[in-house]
């Protein structure tokens, strides 16, 4: 077994054991945001597209899944699927408009479209406006595993996360992923090599949006509600922060970054009072100034330096 495989197995074991040591609902929340950040990283870290509207997909899937389960009475699995597909479809619509531009213009187009989606949710009657879509039943998995039990739900969420993480990992290490990286490094060169760059970008965007949607729908299931916070541009900013803090373009960066942010948000909530936002801001500033590669990025760089010295 390679060293890498052992590392993954150890992580999986930690994931399986976590709810016995840490409050499971918090770990589930970390997993949902980690998935969200991983999906975002696929776009920012590997394709070089900075989308500033990813919360729209996260929120849209949460609302669609919530509505499907609560009002249409769909089973939980199909509800999550409906949310994911809705986010993917929305991603296709937003993506096909946005990828016509690059850089800051791309970010602005995604932000503008995401704001439109946000205001749609604010006005639409099925979302409950600022009161939110509340009281969505968690239901039962396959009809017999009761998900209202936090521990059952935890393993379901963990399974979703592992599946999505594997999917992202496979994507990054596939020929498709290689082309995405080529686009990130030098787009004109990728075009000159005969790749239909726009198509690849769009596909990456849709995939990222759908996975962000899966994260949003799963989070909705954990908390049993979807609110406007899920679609607000603050969240689009937060996911950028998580990815950069953890290390963009690394496999584990988003996982680490989102854990740090979510746990801090939760733990600081009842300890420092009004200083939460100041502390979060300082962390971001320190991260950008001192370790630009992010936590995982710096560790990898350090590890490589050590190897280099030995050789």
């Amino acid at each position: 077994m390679s060293r890498r495989a052992i590392a993954y197995l150890m992580l999986l074991a930690a994931g399986l054991a976590a709810p016995f040591f840490i409050y499971p609902v918090l770990v589930m929340k970390v997993l949902c945001f980690a998935l969200f950040a991983c999906a975002f990283n696929l776009l920012l870290g590997y394709t070089g597209l900075l989308s500033f509207g990813h919360a729209a997909f996260f929120g849209a899937a949460a609302y669609v899944a919530g509505h499907a389960i609560k009002v249409w009475g769909l089973p939980t699995e199909l509800g999550l699927l409906a949310g994911t597909i809705a986010a993917g479809a929305l991603g296709w619509a937003v993506g096909s408009l946005a990828i016509r531009r690059t850089g800051i213009y791309f970010a602005m187009v995604t932000l503008a479209l995401a704001q439109m989606i946000y205001f749609f949710f604010l006005e639409a009657s099925f979302t409950g406006g600022e009161d939110g879509l509340q009281g969505v039943p968690r239901g039962a998995l396959l009809g017999f595993i009761d998900l209202s039990n936090d521990l059952n739900l935890y393993y379901f969420v963990l399974a979703i996360f592992v599946f999505a993480f594997w999917l992202i990992y496979r994507t990054i290490h596939s020929p498709f992923g290689q082309i995405l990286k080529a686009i990130r490094e030098n787009e004109p060169r990728a075009i000159s090599l005969g790749y239909d760059v726009a198509k690849y970008k769009l596909l990456a965007f849709v995939l990222s949006a759908a996975l962000a949607g899966l994260a949003g729908a799963t989070k909705m299931l954990v908390f049993k509600f979807a609110t406007l916070t899920d679609a607000h541009w603050h969240l689009s900013g937060e996911v950028v922060l998580m990815t950069i803090l953890g290390g963009m373009g690394t496999v584990f960066g988003p996982l680490v970054g989102s854990s740090v942010i979510v746990v801090l948000q939760n733990e600081l909530a009842d300890k420092v009072g009004s200083l939460v936002t100041v502390i979060m801001g300082s962390i971001f500033v320190i991260c950008v100034l001192l370790f630009r590669r992010g936590i995982v990025g710096e560790i990898i760089a350090f590890y490589k330096r050590m190897l280099g010295q030995k050789a």
Partner: protein
């Protein structure tokens, strides 16, 4: 030798304490020998002046005062958290409080989205939420639970009060400036209904986007309507901006502004020159009588600001809850809720307040008019009380309730 003496002294001191513990086990049966109260509020965002640290201070004051007066034999602790206006942070924190820290009651919980989420968790875990912060009537209608108390105010009371009283006092033609989403629309509808029921006329309304920065065209329409009263069916920054703009356009010289969700925090921020003459409903005013002044001055020494209705309400809610626990002899949610329903609230905050079946705590509301700068005698002296609206008139009648718990 000295140490030995000290040990003896400590042991001697502990004996009566141990006796106390035994006595307490008989008197009040608690799940974990402690009553724990959680204050969940916005400490860093837009509502932090309205609730925030002030609510925590009020809850702590309530506990200290209760311990000093009633000398209960159980321990009471206050914990607090900043939900950052995120429903998931709030709901997660409360869930954790219930599951791992044995919190019995949460209070404040402003922000309607957070409040409804917390109401669901509270019902699931069978604890109590005494909400003193959120405005939505959904808490006592569609989303009512046997574990929710809505204590201080709601949008119905804020809209209905001025709609009725201002119309009766001669302000019988209205124009609305409404924030364009569900919340604004419901404020406008509740007020319009009250205006029409009292013989007034609604001349029109204009919708403005949420968080609008430029109100000039909306205000010109309001001015052109020649309505005597302009109702502001919006909240927070939108209210503040529309009041400022109304002043700049000279609208306040010929028409009266009525806020439908305005509090002393907004008036303090904007100042009397800008807000003079405005009317709106409040659930509490510090300068009402000797009792409110005495409490509020005490609060002021700790918080350096006069209390909002949320702060006073949180103090009153915590006290009411502790009394009910003492009287019921348990912290079991259903028993304590029943005790609170059976016992009218009577303190500086509410006289003869009554907790209804749907969770609404019904108490008198106050229609206030903002003083002219010359009339204000001291800092924070802001209001003329124009009318006291009896609780039964102020709040949504039970007959209209959409709460499934209400038997009809």
């Amino acid at each position: 030798m000295k140490r030995k003496l000290l040990n003896i002294a400590i042991a001697a001191a502990l004996i009566p304490a141990a006796g106390n513990v035994m006595a307490q086990a008989k008197a009040v049966k608690l799940s974990d020998n402690m009553v724990k109260i959680g204050v969940l509020t916005d400490m860093s965002g837009v509502y932090s002046d309205l609730g925030g640290q002030g609510s925590v201070t009020a809850a702590q004051m309530a506990v200290e005062d209760y311990i000093a007066q009633a000398k209960p034999k159980f321990k009471i602790e206050v914990v607090y958290a900043d939900h950052q206006n995120k429903a998931d942070v709030g709901s997660n924190k409360v869930r954790e409080w219930y599951d791992t820290q044995g919190v019995d009651m949460v209070t404040d919980v402003l922000n309607s989205g957070v409040a409804i989420a917390v109401a669901k968790v509270t019902q699931e875990k069978n604890r109590i939420m005494i909400n003193t912060g959120a405005a939505s009537t959904r808490l006592t209608n569609e989303d009512c639970t046997p574990n929710t108390v809505h204590y201080v105010y709601d949008t119905y009371a804020l809209a209905n009060g001025p709609g009725k009283a201002v119309t009766k006092a001669g302000g019988d033609t209205w124009f609305f400036l409404t924030a364009d989403y569900a919340f604004g629309a419901s404020l406008e509808k509740d007020t319009s209904d009250a205006v029409k029921a009292n013989g007034g006329k609604v001349l029109g309304s204009v919708r403005h986007p949420l968080n609008a920065s430029d109100f000039s065209s909306f205000l010109l329409q309001a001015q052109a309507s020649k309505a005597k009263v302009v109702g502001l069916a919006n909240a927070g920054g939108d209210t503040v901006n529309s009041i400022k703009a109304a002043n700049e356009f000279g609208l306040t010289k010929s028409q009266r502004l009525v806020g439908l969700l305005t509090t002393i925090v907004d008036i303090h921020a904007l100042g009397l020159p800008t807000t003079q003459g405005m009317m709106f409903t409040e659930g509490f005013y510090w300068n009402l009588n000797d009792e409110t002044r005495a409490w509020s001055r005490k609060f002021f020494t700790k918080h350096k600001k006069m209390p909002s209705m949320l702060h006073a309400g949180t103090y009153s809610a915590v006290t009411t809850y502790l009394k009910a626990v003492q009287a019921a002899g348990t912290d079991d949610a259903a028993t304590v809720m029943k005790k609170m329903r059976d016992t009218p609230v009577s303190d500086f905050f509410a006289k003869n307040g009554k907790l209804r079946e749907d969770g609404r705590m019904v108490h008198d509301m106050y229609l206030v008019e903002v003083k002219k700068p010359a009339e204000s005698k001291e800092p924070w002296d802001y209001y003329h009380i124009k009318a006291v609206i009896p609780g039964n008139d102020a709040y949504q009648p039970m007959a209209l309730s959409r709460c499934p718990l209400v038997k009809k």
